[in-house]
Symmetry: C2
Subunit: 192 residues, 2 copies
């Protein structure tokens, strides 16, 4: 079960033989996180990139006044980390929390660096993962610059119906960059 999902994720982009599969699985560390627990806390060094086997995670930035901005959600079959912190092994800007009970596979920085050398196909795999992440973030920037909050809300609902079902409205609001009160107003409009 554990193997299946992450291997299926990998083999969307590269194929692995038995040895490679065994080696890759051997460097993953599985860990359970109950709802509301913390996977990464700002200021800590982010040692792992994380695959969500089940559950839901949320990455958010907390500004000096305490205001939270949700940077991304990750559900089953997604990879998530504070990439800046992970790559450069610097203190994390982001917090990552479980918003449902979650089962996470951790891949350590050193193990990933080794993996790139031992099985260079993983360069390809993560090249594609990074490429997709870049494309996603750039599209989000375009939308944040050119659309109203209301338009962004309905696009979010369409694009991530699964996630929308699982999370609080205030978390959607903090992803859209608006207050929960204003999101409430947007939703009230709909029924006019």
């Amino acid at each position: 079960m554990m193997q299946n999902l992450v291997l299926k994720n990998i083999t969307k982009h590269i194929s692995l033989d038995e040895n490679e599969t065994a080696y890759f699985l051997s460097i993953l560390k599985e860990k359970k996180y109950p709802k509301r627990s913390i996977i990464l806390k700002e200021g800590e060094i982010c040692k792992t990139i994380n695959f969500v086997q089940s559950g839901t995670l949320r990455a958010f930035y907390r500004d000096p006044t305490g205001k939270e901005s949700t940077i991304m959600f990750a559900i089953s079959d997604w990879w998530i980390t504070d990439m800046a912190c992970f790559v450069n092994q610097q203190p994390a800007m982001l917090n990552i929390e479980a918003i449902e009970d979650s089962l996470i596979l951790h891949l350590q920085k050193e193990d990933l660096d080794d993996l790139y050398l031992k099985i260079p196909k993983f360069e390809r795999f993560f090249r594609i993962i990074m490429q997709n992440a870049y494309i996603r973030e750039q599209l989000r920037i375009i939308q944040n610059l050119s659309l109203t909050a209301e338009q962004r809300y309905y696009i979010f609902l369409e694009k991530y119906p699964q996630i929308a079902k699982q999370i609080k409205q205030k978390q959607i609001a903090s992803y859209l960059g608006i207050t929960p009160e204003f999101l409430s107003m947007i939703r009230a409009q709909k029924n006019k």
Copy 2:
């Protein structure tokens, strides 16, 4: 000269032998773009990823009302394309224009796909390029969500002083997601 800059850019992350270098250079196509000329037009298929050897490019989205949002600038030593369009060979969302006379090296999609197979080290190279792009875009999202326009303006000036010197204020405004009039107000404040 041409070789030097792009090779220097590549060898920051991977090393190439003579044959590899020659092959890589052979698939690049150099082209001059005078100021105000168009490298990519929305709706076209984006066939190349582009290295700026000299000059300055701007990628922007034009919404249905004609309002422009600048997505990125690229100066000497940067890679730029409409990545979503390039990767999936779909019609471009973005326009890319030269805002100075520019000398560009084009790398075609098919040639890059071949390159990944012939010299897999380039998977690593572009993995790192994509990773950095992702990190940059994510930081921009964090800043757009958590900072005021004024704060974003001064961060832009600090982070990209080179670019700031070369471009029009209205282009900075459209990168920050504000009107040129409001940027003028911000700048006027400073002198109080």
